[in-house]
Symmetry: D2
Subunit: 512 residues, 4 copies
Amino acid sequence: MLSKKIAGSNMKKQYTANQSVTFNNNATFCVGTGRLGLGLQKEYIDQLRLVQSEIGFKHMRGHGLFNEDLAIYQERRGFDGVLQAVEYNFTYLDLLFDSWLELGIKPFIELGFMPHAIASGTQDVFYWKGNVTPPRDYADWAALVQATLRHLLIRYGDTAATFPVEVWNEPNLGGFWKDADRAEYFKLYDVTARAVKEVDARFRIGGPAICGVDDTTWMRDFLDYVRDNAVPLDFITRHLYDISLPVTDGRYGYPTLTPLRLATGETERTRAIIDDYDEFRGMEIHVTEFNTSYSPRTPLHDTNINAAYICYLLSKLGDDCASYSYWTFGDIFEEQGVPFTPFHGGFGLVANGGIPKPTFYAFKFFSDLGDGDCVLRTDDCIVLKTDGGYRGVAWNISPASERDDLEITVALPDAAERVLVTRTVDETTCNPLKLWHDIGEPQYPSKSQTELLRASAKPLIASQPVTGAEFTLTLNPNAIVYFELSPVVSETDWGFDYERSVAVEYTVFTDR
Amino acid sequence: MLSKKIAGSNMKKQYTANQSVTFNNNATFCVGTGRLGLGLQKEYIDQLRLVQSEIGFKHMRGHGLFNEDLAIYQERRGFDGVLQAVEYNFTYLDLLFDSWLELGIKPFIELGFMPHAIASGTQDVFYWKGNVTPPRDYADWAALVQATLRHLLIRYGDTAATFPVEVWNEPNLGGFWKDADRAEYFKLYDVTARAVKEVDARFRIGGPAICGVDDTTWMRDFLDYVRDNAVPLDFITRHLYDISLPVTDGRYGYPTLTPLRLATGETERTRAIIDDYDEFRGMEIHVTEFNTSYSPRTPLHDTNINAAYICYLLSKLGDDCASYSYWTFGDIFEEQGVPFTPFHGGFGLVANGGIPKPTFYAFKFFSDLGDGDCVLRTDDCIVLKTDGGYRGVAWNISPASERDDLEITVALPDAAERVLVTRTVDETTCNPLKLWHDIGEPQYPSKSQTELLRASAKPLIASQPVTGAEFTLTLNPNAIVYFELSPVVSETDWGFDYERSVAVEYTVFTDR
Amino acid sequence: MLSKKIAGSNMKKQYTANQSVTFNNNATFCVGTGRLGLGLQKEYIDQLRLVQSEIGFKHMRGHGLFNEDLAIYQERRGFDGVLQAVEYNFTYLDLLFDSWLELGIKPFIELGFMPHAIASGTQDVFYWKGNVTPPRDYADWAALVQATLRHLLIRYGDTAATFPVEVWNEPNLGGFWKDADRAEYFKLYDVTARAVKEVDARFRIGGPAICGVDDTTWMRDFLDYVRDNAVPLDFITRHLYDISLPVTDGRYGYPTLTPLRLATGETERTRAIIDDYDEFRGMEIHVTEFNTSYSPRTPLHDTNINAAYICYLLSKLGDDCASYSYWTFGDIFEEQGVPFTPFHGGFGLVANGGIPKPTFYAFKFFSDLGDGDCVLRTDDCIVLKTDGGYRGVAWNISPASERDDLEITVALPDAAERVLVTRTVDETTCNPLKLWHDIGEPQYPSKSQTELLRASAKPLIASQPVTGAEFTLTLNPNAIVYFELSPVVSETDWGFDYERSVAVEYTVFTDR
Amino acid sequence: MLSKKIAGSNMKKQYTANQSVTFNNNATFCVGTGRLGLGLQKEYIDQLRLVQSEIGFKHMRGHGLFNEDLAIYQERRGFDGVLQAVEYNFTYLDLLFDSWLELGIKPFIELGFMPHAIASGTQDVFYWKGNVTPPRDYADWAALVQATLRHLLIRYGDTAATFPVEVWNEPNLGGFWKDADRAEYFKLYDVTARAVKEVDARFRIGGPAICGVDDTTWMRDFLDYVRDNAVPLDFITRHLYDISLPVTDGRYGYPTLTPLRLATGETERTRAIIDDYDEFRGMEIHVTEFNTSYSPRTPLHDTNINAAYICYLLSKLGDDCASYSYWTFGDIFEEQGVPFTPFHGGFGLVANGGIPKPTFYAFKFFSDLGDGDCVLRTDDCIVLKTDGGYRGVAWNISPASERDDLEITVALPDAAERVLVTRTVDETTCNPLKLWHDIGEPQYPSKSQTELLRASAKPLIASQPVTGAEFTLTLNPNAIVYFELSPVVSETDWGFDYERSVAVEYTVFTDR
């Protein structure tokens, strides 16, 4: 049982907040989504509204722009079956992107997959059958891409030109791109990049959208190709997952986590490769997918340790990357079929029913943290200086065999009358997975069960006065904490005495 | 400092949930409000909406129906000052009661105070100057009462006939009724009760609305008068406050609390007096005001001990009383002037800014408790039987000198696979007063401070499996806990393993 | 151009409102919907919210309960492809019906079509590919039906038992049921009806859900079968469309309308057949689909004449039928693919973008009309008696060659001081199709264009005093009018003079 | 009866839209409000929300900042009555301005009236008793002003410094300023202006807030004083009302309207006076109140002619004035007591119950008109050039003796395929006063009556194709029309034919 803790097993750390650390907080630049067609759903939008109201991502990326359910590519055929005209239908795309923009989130466009009607083969991926073969005729593909972008420019004006454009998804896997054919992908990239720029040179274009398989050779070959053929390229994209191969049982997978010292190895290597080229040195890397596990049936995603691990990544990834898009914001997601239960190890920050998972708060905390003057960064906390105080995030990643409380004491250069306000998400304060487990893991929770789960998934807020030149945070295993240390000027009202207010006694009756 | 607790100072209690206790849960029948004219305010309605969405009271009672700000009584005078006509203006009354009824709450009408224009004197009460003298001419008063009730019948139909009607407020105090003139009040009651019944016999009428000063003689005299003069009377009203005279400092008062054994003494005595009369035996008592302190500047109101004490009262008052109306639902209240700070010891369940106080949850918990088969009632908990389980409320009233944790173990007649879900409001989980104090007691909190205070004022939800025939609750000092013990049938999905989900390890790399 | 009218071409009619007419207003019992999977969409729910807030249907029926997108029927297979278990997934069904019930609308369940995995063939219907073949094994089908109904009973309790259940859709067409195989359908009905009753006898079950092809023989054969085999049957279902075969042009069809004298012929014949059987006499007929045109690409649906024609049907169909479900409430609908434009002749009462079509108001007006004492019914109006007045609906069906204004004068048995308030929907006051046409028939209207269209689609409200024992309505071509004639008691305030208020002059300055 | 029109009495006007007219559209810079304390009311905020969502004013000005109901000035006194401390209470002010700013509207601060506690006399104004005497000690006043502004700077930061500040209201009337004492006002202005600038020099300060009595001598004396004493002055304020002395009957007044040629005479004279001073030439004039009538019981306010007259003023006042603040946005207003009826001739754009009056749309239309290239301005219309088209407002002021339809034909320099979309508010399309009259002038309309009134108060939207180089508007008496003439590019879908869609016939059955 994880809720037990070996008595006295505290870990104590002492830091000093006087560094000047480069910290690029790109936590909210982009987030992932289930395939775009699912974005028409009400539950999806409800989850997105929650995410945007508390976190506020700027862009969103997902698969399936050209999937049949969004119905963009259409053919008009006579009774004889002869093609009379190609039509593009943007009815659903408008519904989709209108609702995104209303919620303050813009597309990070992933071009893919292939409409069956113009595909060269039938190979597909996922429950929802995205076709992963090259086009029969690249002209059809280019026309589709151009028509879509032109429509976006008409509908959204200059804003549309700020939507980044990425070509395809993980072509280095045969499952996503027929035979993982490198030359064919480079052709696709080439045709697409030129077609996009032809529509409007302001569109920023990137690739190769690979994951961590053969990634170093793919990256070098891609950059060579782009350079040698003078293909437009504005940014590099890749993915990052930080687990071992999961052990599966039934529908679910149980992986282990990459140790911290190796967690950002792949992006660091990509940075090094890019910077190796004179032409590309310093070019932006956008991690267009990242998470611990790459499978939407990994219960790890729903746990507190996931939140703590992601905090670590959010504190680090900005060193090399312009963005890192958590895969995904919500659990309306169908790659392996429709989930049978609200908690099922999906990628989402929010479980179906609108229940925030612990990792939701990892992003909320880094969103609230914002930018600023970083004075401390360690493997378990980050601290920024504010006007008269400090704010930061701390976390305590605790694998099953290393479950200690963590006590962090931070020495400050200055003492003042301050208050430390903490928001704590840990296994006892904000753990909807455990509550759901305890009530029997209901497949279809009743309305009141869902409300209970939602109500339980809130950080605990606490406060304490701090007068000296240090403060201390105590984190239970897998806790994440957002804190603000702010100056206090007391405005006590005439005759108000807090201590006396709470120190109430019973009346003593002597003769009654 | 109250946040410290003497180590090992636990109190342990052992109960058995197999009684058959009479428990009348009338906690939500009625609640009090600041003077009715304040009910036009947006902030008032926002607070009421919160209260209704979480608690759901059925009736609401407050002073000032005939106060000048509601503008009901109007006179049309010529340039010569001669009265041409009396007019009744219901523009504001309609706005007020329309908004109450939209929120599902009906008036418990208190008739008073006296419009200055028809009053016999100028004595008034409160910052808002309610005139507390008898009418110059009782016919004017009766006409005003009748016009108002007739208007309500026109506007709200049969519903209006279900609004209880009470005559005046605390006439046993000279401050509320000139000279506390008993005979004059009986006359007022007599004239009013007959006038009300003349409009519609369905209106239920009650009095004498007294508080605990000379209350036994007032009550007997009142009942004698009503009996002897055959005046209509449908229910008895009185008030109940449970503190000593407060020690004042500046704007604030610091009282002590009536010991539990005496807390309901006044209503018990009233019950006995009524039942002494053949004519009135068993007649409903409506406690049209109750609280710990009778002053709107008692910081006690904002504390956790207040919530715990009120839980005790809610578990007991139904024995003798048909309702007990907490004075008041919110802090838009002006009897002593406009508050200078959000926390100021006001009567409200909700502090200005929409911040629930601990006592808010005392009512929410008894509202959620509802009715049912009571199997245990003690001085610190109440348990009802449900379908396959139990639900209840527990509390730990802890004066400053008796601050112990309380461990309650309840033995059950039956064992089963169950889950215990608790919602805990205590000094560490839901204590907005302390947070406000720690951040400097800001007079005019910023929007983000108010949001922080609101977010902090939530119960902590926890769960644990219970398999045997007993369960245990642990309550910190002044905690109140709502709990449900419900049967669990596990619906574990194919391959899902909770323990394995949370027991994640780091990957071990042997050669990397 | 239709907006011109030949001068002086008024039609005048004179009626007397003193009949006692049987009028069963079942206009709001049921409405149709696009396939259920579309009900997950936000735009669908937004349209439904509008419909429910203004009209308030009680039930809703649509195809596709068992379609793959709702994902109910699932198979668990090993890597060898061997079936390990059948699973039913109600995640999406719960989302769907939860949102319906929140909007106050209950399912009228249509069981169909066949999950591909248990179908005997591959024939399908519609863009969205509903499989229309019998099950390979009827036991699989019965298990699916039973599992679904049992789940509904668990989730919605007694309410679920009030959902009517219909077996399949239009089996008399080969497109909807392989070979329109009558015997096979009777088998399906037999197995299904018994399976349903086995779950809970309170479920009401009906069929044969046929349209107007071979309908008389189908109906008799069905009733014979049910009677001879003692199959449960609680009500009869059929469809009704009132157009000729449309002339098509591109995507669209242009039909003519059935003359009024023949419009309800099919339901009258069905009534006669049923009443011919001793066993079934008087049994409820539910018209589970009706409209003018049966094609979702008939611009007629979006016109004012459609609204007027539907008013006629709503005034008549209750004579023989317990309900008549307009096909459909909204334009999120994919039978012929995703619409390219907001107005495209879809079935919906609401066009995409939330724009009410004229026919929306036909239903709103009959919803507002409600039940009551019918004193007049003609081919162009219906009048009910109210407390002190009258309310009714009038319409002026005006084919292109018969475009006259219609002046209806209704003589009343009683004169009184009254006001006639009219809400008029006609080609000039509420004609969003024309406005959309005038602004260029935009495929993807901008937000402001959509708002303009929505704002334009409101009835014009007018009033006039009526003092005598008659009143007159004037209807432009294809107008529909809801009217209330209500008693007026003037409450003129002191010194207020309406005529003087509006008769303002300029100041005359003689010497300035 | 006004609804009759003499046949053939059309007025025809022909204009050419090729001018280059200076048109300053300041219609939405500021609006008036009932006394600030009323701003705490929910109904007030509901009306303001409606106004802001459709019109969007930038500032709001009203009386009573220092009135007792806002409770800013407070004194702390001992039991002996001796003043111990002056306190400022901003609890209500924060509620008020927070809610304004949430709705996007900023204060235009009017400093006044005098708290009774620091006033030199007891003279007051209005039902709500604003004290209109100078301070006993100007230091108390200056301290109050400074404390208030400092609080606003703390709460709202830089935004607060953009709130314009005006000193007092109509001191040229003895009713608003004791004895209309000119020298005393100049002293008040002097002390106040210096006190304001001492707090923050960014505050812009203005006066003398006079109405049209002795206005020319007041204005000159004020400017002389300010110049001679080097008192800060950033802008000039005055008021404008355009009626004769009303004839009164009971509670109501019936005035005549100033002819158009004289309507802006007062502001023109003020402009001339200011520009006469070298020091003040070109200084902004803010008309901090304007309307037709200056009395809140003038039924004229609720009529269509009021809307038409206001359109004229909105087209002209920008010539001389930086703003002109319509007095007032809503009918929560108590200067003459609480209204007895929803329509009572109040100043509001919105009647109580949230019913827009015709004049509401005068402001909405000028808000929608916005700024731009003015190509035509006459006494009955204004036209701006847009990208490819035109937009404008037209009105037809029709006193009782001059009720003609007005036909305006505007010649354009360019012909194109365009659509003319009009929004018409006139006596038949949007006249809630008439509807309220017809239903009996109910004092306390039921919920459904209020909804009817609200639904009736919408502009009628119509469209027509325009192909030539001119367009024509037809306006009924007292109509106001907003129009847009926009280019049309038809996007007709494949096979869609509008004319054919609406030209439906009955099916002809030859042998049935």
